[in-house]
Symmetry: C2
Subunit: 643 residues, 2 copies
């Protein structure tokens, strides 16, 4: 068979995800195996069959109190005016909680209600009723009672009931073995020296983590090269030794995407492509009776496809329901566009601002792993909907506990490296709080405050006419809103240049003169506005600058681009240049301030944040980075409304 023939064949289906799922579940016909394990090691395991109590609990009539055991019928004459005296031995005995009630006693009187003239005699002033303060046999568990059905996940307290019932060994479902096969000539192990075009194999470890979390037994194989014969061999062997096979990647239609053809040749392909994004190019099939799932290479696509198709198989094997994520209703901060005919899984940031959950989409690029790691939730846009308008309410599946989202301070606006430091410090002081930041630029930061989507915005906007930072913009854009501007940092902006500044760049005019590859910032970023001002001052236009349209979203991203390119140049803050060991030519000392609503400023969270910013410890940490000066005795300004 000549795999070359397939290399440009593009034939992905758009099968509805639910249909693909039903088909694969129906095809998964394994009889779950069970194993007997020691109960004390069974935490998190799943019962394979109903478990019944072997003994009752308590297995004897037990005292429920510290006190004395008596024969109730003999106490009926006891009265305040006529105390009854009983002798130890035949007439009463001492019992502690949990002690067996010796025959013929049939009631317990609490020690607090007993008067003890001496150790051998007691006096009571109230009769006891039969069986009072006695835990009858089986009060907790009766012998032969069903303790747990099959498919029950053992929790800590369950161990107690099992052990108390003398179930020291229990039958649990064997964990299904899921073999993970990473394929690709571009893949290298995580500790390898990286050449361009090489990618670290990490999907396999992530898959193994998910599979473990879901109750399976992952078996991660070493990287397999893109050689059809080798892949075939490994697949056939996996079909012998595993319950489920996951192969990554080669599931799409690129020049080395053999997987679907191989599975078709040695087995059966049910599905190639589902109507869901990202994660569309998935393969579902069967080899020698074992289900094989071909998962796309882009991490986010891969994680979703794994959840859609591998998790249900594991749950079916274990006889447990698929866990559902908690959901929350959010207000959408931006319009969300989705394609008709396919489900869209949109990673979302969620903030809790002014008593409302507000959510914004993260990048939809399937290759951006951090977008999944940073996401608070998933918005699933159904196939028959083309999206949502800004301001609409939508239901989002949570990827983090709601409490964590509620306690987070939403930081928006311009990117600065000290914000990570501030977040880390805040988390040290209050482990249940953190800062969630998105780098959208100063202007977008102001708009986020205006729309009630963020608690704090970092801004550094120079007004060319007044040469003053931030205030004129706020007065214009937030007129009538009650906001506070908190002076935070003075920081150095300058040219970020390759080590040694080989092109000798000192000004915008130099950029144009030497035709440097400039790396710009996105529209609305303070640094972009500064650059435009520098162009204007130098009587230059965007057309004079190569790379003016190449936009990055952070100082570090600009520095990273300059880092690889001897002709590169960017504008940004000193610590970004320093972090990548690049040259830095100062251009301006700018004011980076924090804008917030007065409501937040005066809240407990706001006060805590300001206190941390002004602490000597934080100041010292920031200034150690270099290029920064924390504003001493900062005087917050109330803006927006007349005060």
């Amino acid at each position: 068979m000549n795999y070359k023939n397939f290399k440009r064949k593009i034939y992905l289906e758009d099968k509805p995800r639910a249909q693909a799922r039903e088909e694969i579940l129906a095809a998964f016909r394994l009889t779950p195996e069970k194993e007997e394990i020691s109960t004390i090691t069974s935490l998190g395991r799943v019962t394979a069959e109903p478990i019944f109590a072997r003994v009752s609990m308590p297995h004897y009539h037990a005292s429920a109190m510290d006190g004395i055991a008596v024969i109730a019928e003999n106490t009926y004459t006891a009265h305040e005016q006529n105390p009854l005296r009983l002798k130890r031995g035949e007439e009463f005995c001492y019992v502690d909680t949990g002690n067996a009630i010796p025959s013929p006693f049939n009631a317990v009187i609490m020690i607090e209600h007993v008067d003890c003239p001496d150790e051998e005699t007691i006096e009571i002033i109230e009769p006891a009723t039969p069986w009072q303060h006695i835990r009858p046999i089986g009060e907790d568990v009766v012998q032969e009672e069903m303790l747990f059905p099959q498919g029950h996940i053992i929790r800590p307290a369950d161990l107690g009931v099992l052990l108390a019932g003398q179930q020291t060994v229990i039958p649990v479902a064997k964990k299904p073995v899921v073999t993970i096969i990473p394929t690709g000539n571009e893949l290298v192990e995580a500790n390898a020296e990286l050449a361009p075009g090489q990618i670290i194999e990490f999907n396999g470890s992530v898959f193994a983590g998910f599979i473990k979390d879901w109750g399976g037994e992952p078996n991660l194989l070493p990287i397999v090269k893109d050689e059809p014969e080798k892949i075939k061999e490994v697949l056939l062997e996996a079909a012998e030794t595993s319950d489920i096979i996951v192969i990554n990647a080669g599931s799409s239609a690129g020049s080395k995407d053999y997987t679907v053809h191989i599975i078709g040749e040695i087995g059966e392909v049910f599905t190639h492509g589902v109507a869901a994004r990202p994660g569309k190019p998935v393969i579902l099939g069967k080899i020698n009776g074992k289900i094989v799932v071909g998962v796309p290479g882009y991490p986010v696509s891969a994680y979703l496809a794994l959840e859609w198709f591998v998790r249900p198989l594991i749950c079916k094997y274990l006889q447990i329901p698929e866990p559902k994520r908690q959901t929350v209703t959010v207000k959408l901060g931006r319009r969300i566009v989705s394609s008709m005919g396919a489900e869209d899984f949109v990673r979302m940031n969620i903030g809790y601002v002014n008593g409302q959950f507000v959510a914004n989409p993260l990048t939809r690029a399937a290759g951006v792993t951090m977008s999944y790691v940073r996401a608070d939730g998933l918005l699933i846009v159904p196939a028959n909907i083309i999206g949502y308008e800004q301001g609409e309410l939508a239901e989002v599946e949570l990827l983090r506990p709601l409490e964590e989202i509620k306690q987070a301070i939403v930081f928006c606006g311009s990117h600065d490296l000290t914000i990570d430091l501030l977040s880390s410090r805040l988390k040290q002081v209050r482990t249940d709080m953190k800062i969630v930041s998105s780098h959208v630029g100063s202007m977008a930061g102001i708009m986020a405050i205006r729309k009630g989507e963020a608690h704090v915005a970092g801004i550094h906007l120079l007004d060319p006419s007044t040469k003053e930072y931030n205030i004129s913009y706020i007065n214009k854009l937030l007129a009538g809103q009650d906001v506070v501007l908190f002076p935070f940092l003075k920081r150095k902006q300058g040219w970020i240049l390759p080590k040694g500044n080989p092109l000798g760049i000192e000004s915008a005019a130099d950029l144009a003169r030497v035709n440097a590859n400039y790396v710009n910032r996105q529209k609305g970023a303070g640094t972009r506005i500064l650059f435009d001002l520098l162009l204007e001052e130098g009587c230059l236009t965007p057309e004079d600058i190569t790379g003016y349209d190449r936009e990055m979203f952070s100082h570090l991203a600009v520095a990273a681009e300059v880092n690889g390119d001897a002709h590169g140049a960017g504008l940004g803050i000193y610590p970004a240049a320093k972090a990548m060991d690049l040259d830095f030519v100062p251009v301006a000392d700018e004011e980076y301030d924090l804008l917030m609503t007065r409501g937040f400023y005066e809240s407990e969270s706001g006060k805590l944040l300001m206190a941390i910013i002004q602490s000597a410890q934080f100041k010292e940490q920031v200034e150690k980075i270099g290029g920064y000066q924390v504003v001493e005795n900062a005087e917050p300004k109330c803006l927006g409304v007349e005060v």
Copy 2:
């Protein structure tokens, strides 16, 4: 020191729980230790410090599509009417997704938009813009960017980001070692032969499970006898080797409760008793700088005290917030009485009936482990509230996923052993469904249907005047409500007697004659009503029967009581007698029917349940037990309203 002196000293405090918690957290001054571990083994561990990216991701300009790489500036003339032909090598090269873009190319055109006259030539009809379909360096992660702060719990997807950033080893917080010391002369290991008064030591294993779940490293010691010197020695040794010590029990004020005195002698006691139930008799102290928590012996008290005081210490050590449980608002099915001045933690069953969450308290006895295992949630009654009225709304902390509660069929009424079988069968067919049953008796079952607190009630109520089962009761109690009565079982009721029937009991008159220890059922139970009828028929009164007031809540519980007592006798169903190998003298063939609202009967869940009941497989399983006959071709009756 003579510990005997303390044996009857009762001096538990009622310190507010929050205060006790603050004090112990303030006293816990350990500096968390960290350890470097391999990233692939770090799932669920907690970062000990912020983690920064070592390399950018991608670390080169990567193609985002399968296609060709070109120099954008050279494609500007391409047009539908003027296709541009490019030669492989200098003018274009093939790239797959993820490939590095070779210099001097700066744009990618998707393979779908390319025409290939031959392998070495392509034609395009649209110009490319610079950097299109190229993932810039650092699109995902930029070198030096903070990936995670300290105190972050590693999830599967996080592994990907760490490995991609070549962080193959990461610093995580060491797990705090929590030594668990079980004490008590009454304790024996789970596999021991049990004598009356002996209790299986299981709390330690449950504690170990909780501690593991919370991120600690449990160290469970063997059982220590109630010998003060021995306990002292073990405590002092634990203070050397652990971060936190848990001792169970001896924390109360019984005759062997030495613990508080020992801790006071070799260390310091902060708290003895908190204003919370169950769990009040807790000890908080310190020995040689290590926090020691003395936990009460009753399982439910112990689990709560552990959560109140040990979990916060572990979280503080790991620098993570304490997880909070999801809550749900429920309607209370019964009145809840609580003591003023102390918080009450009430275990609750929650059902989702008619679109509403309805909750009822389980037993409040601290010794009933199953009540914690069976609980769906915890109702926390604050110290300044004396309880809630029936029908009031209250917030309940969930012990199970809400979805599981929503999917459960709430079964109420009379106890029958086949209900467990039915639940198990249902779960086999639909892993996400189950039956939650509470044994409250037939009358209470009817009332639960009336109040909308249950989906199904099992009832067997004989009308003495008509000798007919169930219908007259429903017509009286559910007039005007649209309900369905589904004929389920014919079953044998009879005398449950010690093996060989030594007292020769055949009738109620015999019970009175031989003065047997009768074990009765609770008021409203169908079996109780049957017994009262038998008394009436025999011209007897409750006073003639010893044990008439001793009430059990299930057939098995009655059988368990009879089992230990040669003079015992009870009334119940055949399988209960059979399960405990007791004698059975039949008294009546009764009709055990299922009562439900018509809404449930016609719902998807209702239809599924009826289908299972009428399946040959279920019928066979039930009849194998003995004493049962499943009603063939059951004809449900619509009652309550005129149809």
